[in-house]
């Protein structure tokens, strides 16, 4: 990119390979995967935080003295027995853990595909292309 990172190559380092349509498609795919990677990573981290919170809540529940507890659904709180609350927490944990696992899988698939694309594009364009993170 002209103004980008000011990488002016020496004449010998210049790569004369023309950018073909398929190369453009691969570059586009790489960019697309990169954007998706950031989204996935963000989602995973926020879900992990949520799981931590639920975990803390379950621990508190276990240490409780068998009283009725307040369960928060949406904006209001409902009185619930300890068992109900524990059940609810466990169901939530399971649900979110599933999502986290699925997202982690997607993350590794993306990284795999990106490594493949990197090899192809670096092989073709050498130093003329930069596919690293900032």
């Amino acid at each position: 990119m002209p103004e980008g990172n000011g990488m002016i190559l020496a004449k010998e380092e210049e790569n004369d390979a023309e950018v073909r349509r398929e190369d453009q498609d691969k570059i586009n795919e790489f960019g697309r995967l990169n954007a998706r990677l950031y989204e996935v990573r963000e989602e995973i981290s926020s879900l992990k935080k949520l799981l931590e919170k639920i975990d803390d809540a379950s621990t508190e529940l276990m240490m409780g003295n068998g009283d009725r507890v307040m369960l928060r659904l949406g904006e209001a709180m409902f009185e619930a027995t300890e068992d109900e609350a524990t059940e609810f927490c466990e169901a939530e944990v399971e649900r979110h853990q599933e999502t986290v696992d699925k997202l982690s899988e997607e993350e590794s698939e993306i990284l795999e595909r990106q490594a493949e694309l990197k090899k192809i594009l670096y092989g073709r364009f050498g130093k003329s292309i930069n596919l690293e993170e900032k």
Binding site: M1, P2, V19, R20, R21, Q24, I27, N28, G31, R32, A35, M70, L73, G74, E75, A76, M77, F78, E79
Partner: protein, 208 residues
């Protein structure tokens, strides 16, 4: 290019007239929701010469830079829309969970003691009789309607599905726009490099 729909740049130089680069000549039609597709340039030389008179690299770079900034602005809009959806969807899901909980309580025949938000920092205790089977849903614009549990569930689930569908569309548009941004950037680089090589070649032939 005889009748351009919208001209992106017109520079009058003293010795020669310059090509009008229309939006159509640098784009390849539109996608299903009206976002233009950047034209991929297989060969820059042929493309530049396809204008009459042949377009200068500056003009081409200018035209593509304009397109690039338009895409960037549109991408911003779409990202904001997508963020709004990311917030809205969990809210709808929470409401659905709430109604299901009430429904369950009704089937069990028990009443629910809840603490609801009376004011910002105060919660008030209330006993909810679930046997009525009625919830009131806030529809926005200061409108609230009464629904049975089942009606409420079907309304909320249809809202959720609609939101999910629109979210998917926005995500697709975002991906598409990002592709166009990358293609435009690459086009700009290639035009620039092509121009550098051309000038270098001209210098070489002149000095021979």
């Amino acid at each position: 290019m005889s009748t351009p729909a919208s001209t992106t740049s017109e520079i009058e130089s003293e010795e020669k007239s310059v090509a009008n680069i229309s939006l159509e000549s640098i784009t390849d039609g539109k996608n299903s929701r009206g976002i233009p597709t950047t034209k991929f340039l297989d060969d820059i030389e042929t493309f530049a010469n396809s204008f009459s008179p042949p377009a200068s690299p500056e003009l081409l770079i200018g035209a593509y830079s304009d397109l690039y900034s338009k895409f960037k602005a549109y991408e911003q809009q779409l990202s904001q829309k997508s963020a709004t959806f990311r917030e809205k969807l969990p809210e709808i899901e929470k409401s659905i969970a709430l109604v299901r909980h009430l429904k369950k309580k009704k089937e069990e025949g028990s009443s629910v003691v809840t603490r609801y938000n009376l004011a910002d920092t105060i919660y008030a205790k209330a006993e909810v009789d679930c046997s009525q089977g009625i919830v009131n849903l806030w529809l926005g614009a200061n409108v609230m309607l009464e629904y049975t549990y089942d009606e409420a569930l079907s309304l909320l689930t249809s809202k959720e599905n609609l939101a999910k569908k629109e979210f998917k569309e926005v995500t697709e548009d975002l991906t598409f726009t990002r592709n166009q941004i990358i293609t435009s950037e690459v086009n700009i680089s290639r035009i620039y490099n092509w121009d550098v090589r051309r000038k270098r070649a001209n210098l070489a032939t002149r000095s021979n």
